[in-house]
């Protein structure tokens, strides 16, 4: 029962362990395949494209037209659609990723292989990020192709901006979803929490901001600063700024932002979104490396 001193044990090296990049790529590929194979990916893509087309019809009808309104004029409607659909799919996909593997006993099994926890987490993140990118690109792409085919004017630049910003929003929400997934013991709890977070970000903070602005007589600077705390608001402000080139529609806070920061707003919005992507993911990786996978 007595053990040999560690220093006397010869080191056995079978072969080199796979590199970090290789492990991340292996897990990402698997995650991407699983996502595409399951129904959620196609359902979200279909829902996203159908709702996009419906939004353009509604926008056209609101403007007095009778058909598709063209990509530029439906920007506001699509922004609101992205604001609702993209965070929901990214949050729920991220929230169920680690938690469901843990629940099935798969997490411990994978971590018993020559892979680190950070590699596994990043691999899953890259894979799901890729799946979400595919979903957004197919959704917005299909929408703009159908509009162009129907003879409505389209704006490829606006579509690229919308797709890119939607992807950034998806990555921020995916990070938040991963943080929830690492903390939750059960998959159902993780998904439930993700939906609650989505409701809070999509509706709760808007209401709180409106109420706070009236009750506390907030200055425009404070109103703008508080808006930037919510990644959904950052997306909304950024997309309007990039595509419409003006934030006037948002009232005094929008006017203040345009006048005060001008083109520097891209940098501010980018930094805010970057922080929302990086901070929850780094926190999730730190917690994941300390928590038991069981």
């Amino acid at each position: 029962m007595t053990a040999l001193p560690i220093a006397l044990v010869p080191v056995v090296s079978a072969r080199r362990a796979p590199s970090t990049a290789r492990n991340i790529a292996t897990v990402a590929r698997r995650e991407l395949r699983d996502a595409v194979r399951t129904r959620w990916f196609w359902l979200y893509t279909l829902a996203f494209a159908s709702l996009g087309l419906a939004v353009s019809f509604v926008s056209a009808a609101g403007a007095g037209g009778a058909g598709l309104s063209g990509f530029g004029r439906t920007t506001a409607g699509l922004t609101n659609l992205v604001l609702l659909v993209v965070p929901l799919m990214a949050l729920t996909a991220g929230a169920s990723s680690i938690a469901s593997d843990r629940e099935r006993g798969m997490l411990a099994y994978i971590l018993a292989q020559p892979i680190t926890r950070t590699e596994l987490l990043l691999g899953k993140y890259v894979g799901l990020g890729g799946a979400l990118f595919g979903c957004i690109a197919l959704g917005i792409g299909a929408c703009s192709i159908i509009m162009a085919w129907m003879g409505a004017p389209s704006s490829p630049v606006a579509m690229l901006w919308m797709s890119g910003l939607a992807l950034l929003l998806a990555l921020a929400m995916l990070s938040l979803g991963f943080l929830i997934s690492v903390l939750a013991r059960r998959s159902s709890v993780a998904v439930g929490t993700a939906i609650f977070v989505w409701l809070t970000l999509a509706f709760g903070t808007d209401l709180a901001l409106m109420g706070g602005a009236i009750a506390l007589r907030l200055r425009v600077q404070s109103l703008l600063a508080l808006s930037l705390v919510n990644p959904l608001q950052v997306f909304k402000l950024w997309s309007l700024h990039a595509i419409e080139a003006s934030l006037d529609v948002l009232g005094p806070a929008g006017l203040y932002a345009t006048e005060e920061y001008g083109r520097g707003l891209h940098l501010i919005f980018g930094a805010c979104m970057g922080a929302w992507i990086a901070a929850p993911l780094v926190l999730a990786a730190l917690l994941f490396s300390r928590r038991s996978p069981l």
Partner: protein
């Protein structure tokens, strides 16, 4: 090859493993033996570096906590059950884990052939039976011919036929100088696979002895393996001890050494004590002990 030094693992106030030290040389096969909650699975999780613990474990000289990736490269692991993704294909699963082990995925066919799953390579994992899933896990564990195999109650979810086939397969494939550490509460499995038995009781490693000695300690005749409802096991043990049987708790019930002509006696004792028996099996210990001489 495996070296555990004063390993202690606590979950809150409960100490699952306490100051356990164990050495396994190259090619040696050691069984972890003990009742449910004795600490077998926790010790295995420590060996795999899945949970943090006090003390030190090295695999082939690599510390499992500090150089986990290098240590786990030397290990093939088979758990009690794996919850593979429903849609995952059999061949695809082997290829995926080949990549994770730093191997070329083209060796998948050969790995499946070794465990007799070649004909099922194009199926989805969910279509496989429990025994086949365990064979798939073994195929994955043996990818790259790791020098160490770690198995955690691998036959617990299998029926008698599946268990027998799997143990025979393990016996055939685990040889060739491979070090093996496995948890089991089945004497027949231990008799076939183990060279030494490390007994755990409430987290303590109480003894490490040659398998022959362990089997001899169970009696010269046969052992009745009784599966009983968990809340009744302690009461059943007391009743059998009172009737003169050397009953011992194991993972799913009791082990009762019996002599020829008295195999039914423990059933009478339990019936009188109103204790139902879910299942039973008679294991020939003498034959197993002879295999080890």
């Amino acid at each position: 090859m495996i070296l555990a030094e004063r390993v202690t693992k606590r979950f809150g106030r409960n100490t699952a493993v306490r100051e356990a030290s164990l050495t396994l040389g190259a090619g040696e096969s050691v069984a972890l033996w003990g009742a449910n909650g004795a600490g077998k699975t926790t010790l295995i999780r420590c060996v795999l570096g899945l949970i943090r613990f006090r003390g030190r474990i090295t695999i082939g000289g690599h510390d499992v906590l500090r150089r986990g990736k290098a240590a786990r490269l030397l290990i093939g692991y088979v758990p009690q059950e794996i919850g593979f993704h429903d849609e995952l294909g059999v061949r695809e699963a082997v290829r995926h884990f080949s990549r994770l082990k730093g191997l070329a995925p083209r060796g998948a066919e050969e790995a499946l052939d070794r465990v007799g799953l070649s004909d099922h390579a194009s199926k989805r994992v969910r279509e496989l039976s429990g025994g086949m899933k365990q064979r798939l896990a073994l195929a994955i564990a043996l990818l790259g011919d790791p020098p160490v195999l770690v198995l955690d109650e691998v036959t617990a979810s299998l029926d008698a036929v599946g268990r027998g086939e799997f143990v025979a397969l393990l016996k055939r494939l685990s040889g060739a100088g491979r070090t093996m550490l496995f948890a089991s509460h089945r004497i027949d499995e231990i008799g076939v696979l183990a060279e030494r038995v490390a007994a755990l009781d409430k987290g303590r490693l109480t003894s490490v002895m040659p398998c022959r000695e362990f089997l001899a300690g169970l009696g010269a005749g046969e052992v009745l393996h009784l599966a009983l409802p968990a809340p009744l096991r302690e009461r059943a043990r007391s009743a059998l001890m009172g009737a003169g049987f050397d009953a011992r708790l194991n993972g799913v019930g009791l082990l009762v050494p019996v002599t020829t002509g008295r195999k039914a006696a423990p059933f009478r004792v339990l019936a009188e004590a109103n204790i139902p028996v879910d299942d039973f099996e008679v294991v020939g210990v003498a034959a197993r002990a002879e295999e080890h001489t």
